[in-house]
Point group: C2
Chain length 250, copies 2
DNA sequence: TCAGAAATGATAGATATCAATCAAAATATA
DNA sequence: TATATTTTGATTGATATCTATCATTTCTGA
C-alpha cells in the first residue's frame, strides 16, 4: 500500500467515525504502530485530523480555535446575552461585534427573522446555516486569535451599512470610556457605531475599572449598557450620569 | 456549580471542539480529575459523548454546518486538491474560491506561509487558526447553502486585491465554457479572475458536459485546469486546444 | 546497477492515563 | 438536629501510550 493511500484510509476512517483509536488503525490497516503514529503526526501537523492520546479525532469545520478559551465569567456573560437577545425584535437589522458575549447573543437569535451584520467568523459560522437570517459578513484581515475581520477593508464595507442596533463588546471600561486591545479593531468598531442608530454595549463585571491599549469612545457615546448583577453600584451610577441607560439582571 | 450544569458544559465544549482532553476539562471547569472522569463515564454511558483515552470526542453526525457528507467524487477531489496545493509556493498570495475541492486544497496549505484571500466561511474557519497564514476574508451576503460571500460587497472588496493565483471551482464545464448555478456567485468569481494573474480551475470528471444557470467565462480564460484521471481524453484535448494547460494525475 | 534517501518495524525508558479505593465534604432525609 | 446518602477529591498500583532511537527494508535517481 502506498503512503498516501494509507493516509487517505486513515482520513476516511477518522471522518466516518469521528474518532479512532491507534490500535484500531493498526489492526485495520495492518501497519506497525510506529508507522501509524508517524501518519497521525503528519496528518495532525497538516491540520487534517486532530491527534489525541491513543488515537485521532476528526476535525469538523466548526469554530475550532476561537471559542470557549476564556471562560471567564461565562455564567454572567450567558445571562447578559439572554437579556440582550430578548431586546432584538423580528425583522430588525443588527450589527453583532465579535466577542464571547456577542456569540452567546447570536445563539439566542437563531430562530428569529433578522438581518445580521457581523465581522466575526464564529458568529457567521453559527448563523450561516439558518436561512431565516439574512447574514452579511464583513470581510477584512482576519485576526487569528479571535477570528474577527479588521482593518480598512472592514471599515469600507461597513460604510455602506445602516441598521437599527449595534451590539458591541469591549475589552475594558473606565471613567474615560470604552477600550479594546487592538487599534485596528477599534477603528472597525468606530465605523460600526456610525452605522447603527442605537449602540448597545454588553459588559460583565470583569470589564470595569480596566483600560486597554486603544481608546474606543467616551461613555456617553453608548445608548444602552447591559450588565450582570455583580457590577458595583458605583459603576452603574457613573454610567447613568452620562445619560446612558443601564439594564441589569432582574 | 451544579452537577447537570457541569455536564452540560462538558457537552457543549465537546460539541464545539469535536474533542477535548481530560486535562483541558479539569482546567476549564475547575473540578477534580476524578469528578470529570465520572462525568465522562456517565455521559459516555448514556451515549452523549464518546469517551477516549485522555479525553472525550463528540458523537453524532458532524453536522458542522456546510460540508456535505455525501459529496460526489470525494476521492478524486482530494487527489486534485493535493496536486493543486503542491503548486502553491511559500510566500505567494492566492485567492481560494469556495467549494468542496478548494476546501481540500486549503487543508494542504495550513503549514505554508501564504497570504490567502477567500470568500468561503469553511475555508476561513480552517485557516484562521494558523498564524503563518495571512488571511483576508471577503465579505458580503452569505449564501446559506455553501457559506460563501457573494454580491456587490464582495465584488468591491475584491477590486482592491491582486494576487498571483486564483484557485477556482465550477459547477459545470461544456465547450461553451465554465458555469455556476448562481448569478451573484458568477459576478463575484468574475472579479476574482480580474484580481489574479493566473487562473487555475479544479474540476473532477463529474463536472464535464454539464452546464448550469449562469455562464462564467469561455474556456480560454483559464490558464490551468487540474483534473482527475477519469476525465475523458476528448475533454482534455478540447481544453488544450483552447491554449489551456491541463494537469492530470500522474 | 549501485549509492543515498526515505520509510518502516521493533524496542525500551519515560510519561500519562486508568480503575479502584477511601476519607472528607456536601446534600438530603427523618 | 442528627443520620444516611451522595458527591467529591486525593492517592496508588496497574496498564497503555508516547518519544526517541536504531537496524532493516524499500524506494529513488544517477
Amino acid at each position: 500500500m502506498l503512503v498516501d493511500e494509507r493516509r487517505q484510509k486513515i482520513l476516511n476512517i477518522t471522518e466516518n467515525r469521528g474518532y479512532v483509536s491507534l490500535q484500531e488503525l493498526v489492526t485495520e490497516i495492518d501497519a506497525s504502530e510506529s508507522t501509524i503514529r508517524r501518519d497521525l503526526e503528519q496528518l495532525d501537523g497538516s491540520g487534517q485530523i486532530r491527534r489525541t492520546r491513543g488515537g485521532a479525532s476528526y476535525i469538523g469545520e466548526s469554530l475550532m480555535g476561537f471559542e470557549d478559551r476564556s471562560t471567564q465569567n461565562m455564567e454572567a456573560k450567558r445571562r447578559i446575552a439572554k437579556m440582550t437577545a430578548d431586546l432584538i425584535e423580528p425583522g430588525e437589522g443588527v450589527i453583532l461585534d465579535g466577542g464571547t458575549t456577542t456569540l452567546e447573543v447570536a445563539r439566542h437569535l437563531v430562530n428569529k427573522s433578522l438581518m445580521v451584520v457581523t465581522n466575526s467568523l464564529p458568529i457567521a459560522n453559527l448563523l450561516a446555516s439558518h436561512s431565516n437570517i439574512e447574514l452579511i459578513l464583513i470581510g477584512g484581515y482576519v485576526y487569528p486569535k479571535t477570528g474577527v475581520s479588521l482593518g480598512p477593508v472592514a471599515v469600507d464595507a461597513l460604510r455602506s451599512i445602516n441598521v437599527r442596533r449595534l451590539v458591541m463588546s469591549v475589552g475594558g471600561i473606565t471613567e474615560k470610556g470604552l477600550f479594546n486591545s487592538n487599534t485596528l479593531l477599534v477603528e472597525t468598531e468606530k465605523q460600526m457605531m456610525n452605522s447603527a442608530d442605537e449602540i448597545i454595549v454588553v459588559a460583565d463585571h470583569g470589564k470595569f475599572g480596566h483600560s486597554a491599549l486603544a481608546h474606543l469612545c467616551p461613555l456617553d457615546r453608548m445608548d444602552l449598557m447591559i450588565v450582570d448583577r455583580d457590577v458595583p453600584e458605583s459603576w452603574k451610577s457613573l454610567v447613568r450620569e452620562q445619560g446612558v441607560a443601564v439594564l441589569e439582571e432582574e
